[in-house]
């Protein structure tokens, strides 16, 4: 035994004897994970979160979360002598007078944008492949909670520097709080400690931003990962991959190296952006002052669709019993997002109800093989995208010589008309792809090679698929639509009433498929060919 081995072995037994880790480690380090790029999206989210924690900690060393009024005396000349909050002054101090401060601020902000972007794309992967199905519904709900918290956390961070742009965002948040019927104005006074802006909100937002929400998110991320660990990772269909196994590489050494390396890549890309691309130049915007406002004030992109909804809302309000209800804020600011996030959280259960499929699933769907779900996803994304576009309507107007009113009307109509169109088109595309798959399995791949037969006929040579490919194209199961009878065995018409009818229709829609080739068809074709 070499000296090195002796030291390593000694250390290992020291830890094992005190923690009993060896048995657990042995099992853990050989745990297998499947390999696919889309399974690394969640990793990007997690690594961005780590970067946010580290860079955020750096920023807390100098940030002064106080609305105490100070006169700026720093390196940025055009603000010298201007009265501002200590928070804004310290954000300027970090940007101009702390070594590496601006870089860290920019890394923190870019990491936040990438964090949210990766989270959304990760969620899209989970949705479109059906990875949320039993037993992973709870993890999906945790994911929706993390998305919601991420949006709030990002917005609070955007508000902290107390520059004119971020103050404008807080002002809109205040309007949304006030739009809550009856209690809105009380809530607003409670949150801001008096009339807006008061002298409290930076301190309060700071505590929530650096302590409460990151703490909850960290706990949820831990639970999220533990569930992934316990339930094992899903995998794409393929030969040898079943509902009972996981085909992939062991954690040690393959994923230790890959995931560890990937962390540094994520850090590198974020730091690169932080170094070369300016983000949120607060010194140009000036300190927040409720009497000032800037054209082109925008939230960060993950709030942009909410802003777009508010911008699209027509000015409607009602006055009754001495109370004003601002529908123009209440509907786009609270009701629509509330509906969207509730439906999103419960979607796994909604789908189970529609299809009647309550079994466990560990093998993922190819999106085309579940046309209804894919179409629902495309529909939702279309809605969000149209509202996101409307969120930037002023910039679209100035940069593309358009009328802001026309963009708004396009969005108002588009929000209602385009999602259903996206649904229908996506569903048709999925069914066409299924048809193409069926053709491929039955008649092979079109090679583009034309051959002239002795009697002069031209044919294109079709190359049969490899068994592996054919397996991938046919591995999915196609469930029949739910049978919900018109009358039960006693002759009572329509026993489940409206609910039953709705469910029958939903089930029929969600099970609309191009039937995949049956073994019999395959055999017949093979006989014919030979």
């Amino acid at each position: 035994m070499s000296a090195r081995e002796r030291v390593a072995g000694g250390t290992a037994s020291f830890i094992d004897e005190r923690t009993g880790a060896a048995k657990w480690m042995k099992k853990t380090l050989t745990k297998v994970f499947p390999d696919h790029w889309s399974f690394m999206l969640g990793e990007i989210v997690m690594y961005s979160f780590v970067i946010l924690l580290l860079s955020g900690t750096f920023l807390t060393f100098w940030f002064d979360p106080s609305m105490r009024e100070v006169e700026y005396e720093g390196s940025y000349e055009p603000l010298n002598g201007i009265k501002m909050s200590a928070a804004y002054a310290s954000a300027l101090h970090i940007s101009f007078d702390v070594r590496g401060g601006l870089l860290m601020r920019q890394i923190h902000h870019w990491a936040a944008l990438i964090f949210m972007a990766a989270m959304v794309v990760h969620m899209m992967r989970v949705f479109f492949t059906g990875a949320f199905r039993k037993p992973r519904e709870l993890n999906w709900i945790i994911g929706v909670a993390l998305l919601t918290l991420g949006i709030v956390e990002g917005f609070l961070g955007y508000s902290l520097p107390d520059d004119l742009l971020s103050g404008t965002g807080i002002r809109i948040a205040e309007a949304i709080i006030q739009a809550i019927p009856v209690v809105g104005s009380y809530l607003s006074y409670f949150i801001f400690g008096g009339a807006f802006p008061g002298e409290m909100f930076i301190q309060r937002i700071y505590a929530v931003h650096i302590l409460l929400i990151p703490g909850i998110m960290l706990a949820l991320i831990t639970a999220h990962l533990m569930l992934v660990w316990y339930q094992k990772h899903t995998q794409y269909p393929g030969p040898g991959r079943t509902e009972k196994n996981v085909v992939g590489y062991p954690l040690m050494p393959v994923y230790m190296a890959k995931a560890g390396g990937f962390f540094f890549i994520v850090f590198g890309v974020t730091a690169f952006l932080g170094a070369v691309a300016q983000i949120n130049p607060i010194w140009i915007y000036g300190p927040y002052n409720p009497g000032q406002i800037g054209a082109g004030s925008q939230p960060d992109w993950y709030m942009g669709w909410l802003d777009g909804l508010v911008r699209a809302a027509p000015p409607i309000e009602t006055h009754a019993f001495g109370i004003t209800i601002s529908w123009n804020i209440l509907i786009p600011g609270l009701i629509i997002p509330g509906i969207i996030f509730t439906l999103m959280a419960f979607y796994p259960f909604i789908e189970q109800w529609m299809t009647g499929d309550k079994r466990e699933h560990h093998v993922l769907d190819r999106p085309r093989n579940n046309p209804n779900r894919t179409a629902i996803g495309a529909m939702s994304l279309t809605f969000t995208l149209v509202s996101l576009i409307n969120g930037g309507n002023d910039l679209l107007a100035t940069h593309f010589d358009l009328s802001i009113n026309q963009i708004m009307w396009f969005s108002r109509i588009g929000l209602i008309v385009l999602p259903p169109i996206a649904f229908v088109i996506t569903k048709r595309i999925c069914l066409s792809l299924q048809r193409a798959d069926r053709e491929k399995v039955l008649h092979g791949r079109e090679t583009g090679r034309l051959v002239m037969l002795p009697h002069g006929e031209f044919i294109e040579v079709h190359e049969p698929l490899s068994p592996e490919k054919a397996y991938v194209l046919t591995a999915h199961e196609q469930l029949p639509a739910l049978e919900i009878g018109e009358a039960d065995e006693n002759g009572v018409a329509n026993p489940q009433g409206f609910k039953g009818k709705l469910r029958a229709r939903m089930s029929k829609a969600s099970q609309e498929q191009i039937s995949k080739p049956t073994p019999k068809e395959m055999l017949e074709l093979e006989d014919g060919h030979h």
Partner: protein
């Protein structure tokens, strides 16, 4: 003589369907028009230099230019008609702003006159301004001595005034912003200090007038000084991404940031096969 002419036309006739004949004709046509234009242009310029520069003749020259280039919309006596407003009493400052920034004469009757290369040179603009100012008193063009913003302005105060009075339309960073029905507040970056001043004094198009009772002369100069600072300051922290805020930042974060990372993820997982 006759024979050589015949020979020449014979040559042309023979090669008239040559594949280079068309392009050659086009080229010579362009060359001819270009030289002709240049010569004619130089000739008119010479005429202007010959004109004397006293006020009366400047006004009469301006009247002539006005009749040629402006009267079809603004009326022969600048009384305004239809879409074009009356110019009586708008003053020299307004004419200088509109003409020297190329907004007038308008290229097309769209939502608002846009900035383009000026049609009239400095002298013609001055003549037009003198003519319009002679119709009725109005804000005079600002002189260089009055416009000593480097000396008389205060950057920090200018920034504060800009945020209070200008940013709501022109954007916090002066990048411009959208107004209703296709109108817009243009960017204030890259605008001559004189024209910024004249815009504040005369309130062109959708812009309100900032009279001296609203913003004093020194305050206007401070705003100009702040704009010039922001325009020329180095972009701290990297590429400015158009300075239009979170929209481009979001796009860069999504496309460049996440795009690169997904690309690397694809690469990492393909290598393993």
């Amino acid at each position: 003589m006759g024979k050589s002419v015949n020979k020449f036309f014979g040559f042309i006739s023979r090669y008239r369907r040559h594949r280079f004949a068309g392009p050659l004709m086009l080229l010579s046509g362009l060359l001819f028009a270009g030289i002709g234009y240049t010569v004619a242009h130089a000739a008119t310029e010479e005429v202007q230099v010959v004109l004397s520069s006293d006020k009366a003749s400047l006004i009469s020259e301006g009247k002539e230019i006005f009749a040629r280039g402006c009267s079809s919309c603004h009326g022969l006596n600048a009384e305004g008609a239809g879409a074009a407003p009356s110019l009586i009493g708008v003053g020299a400052a307004s004419v200088d702003f509109q003409v020297a920034t190329g907004r007038m004469p308008m290229a097309d009757m769209s939502q608002q006159a846009m900035r383009k290369d000026p049609v009239y040179d400095e002298r013609e603009t001055a003549a037009l301004a003198a003519y319009v100012a002679s119709l009725a008193p109005g804000p005079a063009a600002v002189t260089n001595e009055e416009l000593f913003w480097e000396r008389d302005g205060n950057t920090a105060e200018g920034g504060e005034l800009f945020r209070t009075n200008c940013a709501m339309c022109h954007n916090l960073a002066g990048q411009g912003g959208a107004l209703t029905q296709g109108k817009y507040a243009p960017t204030v970056m890259g605008v001559e200090p004189k024209h910024i001043y004249e815009a504040m004094v005369t309130g062109p198009q959708a812009m309100p007038v900032f009279a001296n009772s609203v913003l004093t002369h020194e305050e206007k100069l401070s705003i100009i000084k702040w704009i010039k600072f922001v325009e020329t300051e180095p972009s701290q922290g990297g590429a400015a991404l158009g300075r239009v805020g979170p929209v481009t930042e979001g796009a860069v974060g999504f496309i460049l940031g996440l795009g690169i990372l997904i690309g690397i993820a694809v690469w990492l997982t393909t290598k393993a096969r």
